[in-house]
């Protein structure tokens, strides 16, 4: 018995030693699933080089915000920036650090049709249930020369709450007054028509299995799976194919200093119109809930790494558009405002 106690004591001592050393500090984060492939890859690479133990839970933006509010994570992640009420609910001030740009693409399944252009009116009519067949004259108008089949349009949307839905509905609210009035924007909606499927894989799978289906999917998933996507009309009236270049172009315009902006309907003529930032969120004052200074330093160190070149190259590997130079500078300035007991942490 005495031996056993001795062993336990030694084990405890050892484990407390290792967690105390600065090299093996562990950080936890949770939130959005949309940038999950990027964060997983970034964390894997970062942990290897920096030795910091990082865990990220893809629990959804809402879960990320809740976790940060309850102070159970070092930082959270969200696809939609916090509104005034949500920020007021936080126990202290927070900052939003953009990490990459994603987009929402319109995927469809029509046998034999490889190129499809959809005007803003087409999108509104389809997703509000006013166009019910593919050979509708309104779709024909945007696609001269394409023979569209006499087939029912099946709208597929997300059944779970999602940042992807938020970006999509934000875009729809900007292009259509009717949509704004009847449906609005949010992470989950009161859909006028269509079927719900869970997650990007669910929506993509349902579209693939149903001839005549159309729906929206996160660009990173569509690019990785090589799913056929429609060209969407942007603010300049141009039909744009979503690509890393056209998505990145969406952030070329004026971005406010706090980076809290939706990138949908960017004024840039080359921009893909359904694009958006995704953010990591953290408290401005890092000294809370018995956190150590080392923990705070490591948090800021990771965030300042993820916005720079090396990590941004990783983002492109998994099909996210990188932040433009200007936005990186803005993000760095924001990280400069994060403090521990009033002391700046960014090095």
């Amino acid at each position: 018995m005495k031996n056993l106690i001795g062993i336990i004591a030694v084990v405890l001592l050892l484990s407390s030693c290792s967690s105390g050393s600065s090299e093996n500090v562990s950080l936890t984060a949770a939130g959005a699933t949309f940038p999950l492939p990027f964060y997983n890859l970034a964390i894997k690479n970062y942990s290897k080089s920096a030795g910091t133990l990082l865990t990220y839970g893809g629990v959804g933006s809402g879960g990320g915000i809740r976790s940060l509010r309850d102070q159970v994570v070092d930082f959270g992640a969200t696809d939609a920036y916090l509104n005034a009420k949500q920020e007021a609910d936080m126990p202290a001030g927070i900052v939003h650090i953009p990490t990459c740009i994603g987009a929402v693409v319109i995927a469809y399944s029509l046998t034999g049709i490889e190129e499809l252009k959809l005007s803003n009116e087409n999108l509104t009519d389809i997703f509000m249930g006013r166009i019910t067949r593919w050979n509708d004259s309104r779709i024909k108008e945007s696609n001269p020369g394409v023979t569209l089949p006499d087939l029912a349009v099946t709208v597929v949307h997300r059944s779970d709450g999602s940042g992807t839905t938020y970006i999509f509905s934000d875009f729809m609210s900007k292009i259509s007054v009717d949509w704004e009035k009847e449906v609005g924007k949010g992470k989950s909606l009161k859909w006028p028509v269509g079927l719900g499927a869970k997650g990007n894989p669910g929506v993509a799978g349902t579209i693939k299995q149903t001839n005549g289906a159309i729906g929206y999917i996160g660009s990173e998933f569509a690019f990785a799976q090589k799913i056929p996507v429609a060209q969407v009309e942007n603010s300049a009236g141009k039909y744009v194919t979503p690509s890393l270049a056209s998505i990145s172009a969406a952030a070329k315009g004026e971005i406010p200093a706090d980076t809290k902006v939706m990138l949908t309907c960017s004024s840039d003529p080359d921009a893909y119109p359904i694009s958006g930032f995704t953010w990591l969120i953290l408290y401005k004052e890092q000294a809370y809930n018995k956190r150590t200074k080392v923990q705070a330093e490591e948090t800021v160190k990771f965030l300042s790494w993820i916005i720079e070149k090396d990590a941004q190259a990783l983002a492109q590997q998994v099909n996210y558009a990188p932040l433009p130079e200007k936005t990186v500078a803005q993000a760095r300035a924001l990280l400069g405002t994060v403090v521990f007991d009033g002391q700046t942490l960014l090095k």
């Binding site: 629990v59 709450g161 924007k185 992470k187 859909w191 079927l195 799978g205 149903t210």
Partner: protein
Amino acid sequence: MKAILFLASVVVILITAGMVYSLMSGAIPVFKEFGLKFIVSSEWNPTEGREAYGALPFITGTLLTSLIAIILCFPLAFSTSLFIGEYYRGTKMASLTGTMVDMLAGIPSIVYGLWGFYVLRPLIVELGWSAQGFSIFTAGVVLAIMIIPYATSITTEIIKMVSNDLKEAAYSLGATRREVIFSVIVPNARSGIFTSYILAFGRALGETMAVTMLIGNSNIIPKGIFDSGNTMASVIANQFGEADGLKLSALVAIALLLFVITGIINGIGKLIIKKYSV
């Protein structure tokens, strides 16, 4: 020994009570906002500033899918029980069938969902019953298969338990086998048989994953059994991740309603058993 048993039972009661308490306290905000309208309203709008929550589409979906499931399940499960428990009782064929049915219970629900998605759904489209194959009926069929083992195994045991003296007496009076089954075995075993179907129905009420994959997840009251809809368990599983505030409360309230509905059905079951038991 007595103390341990007592403690264990108290813990079980505490857990149940704790669950009811947490569900109730979580559901308070939405009942404060909408009152009993929450149960009878069919409006489900999570958009900020226009929030309105009504559980009727999900209650309808849950009851319809489970009802379809139990109706489709009954002829299959009941015949199988008679096959194993009476006609081929004790034979290799019966034990093989019994094992197969029990195996059905062990298959994870996601596998049923996948099977429904890739096999049953295209079939329903092919038959022209529904344009995309996602419907209350599709979910009901898969549910029916999922609950077969629950209904079958208990019914089989009950049928086997009917005393041989009774059966032999009937045979000696010149009864045919069919007459023995319907005039001796079924009346004797009816309360047990009924219990097994109540259990199976309860299982169908709460099934989530396979239903989510096949029902179409539209938050509206279905216009028919070949229309898409949603169930209580499915909407909770789908929307819980991103929910907060009033919406979270609405989901908790749906969970509470599901708890209550399951309770009511079990209660009705118990009453009927009491009335008919011999």
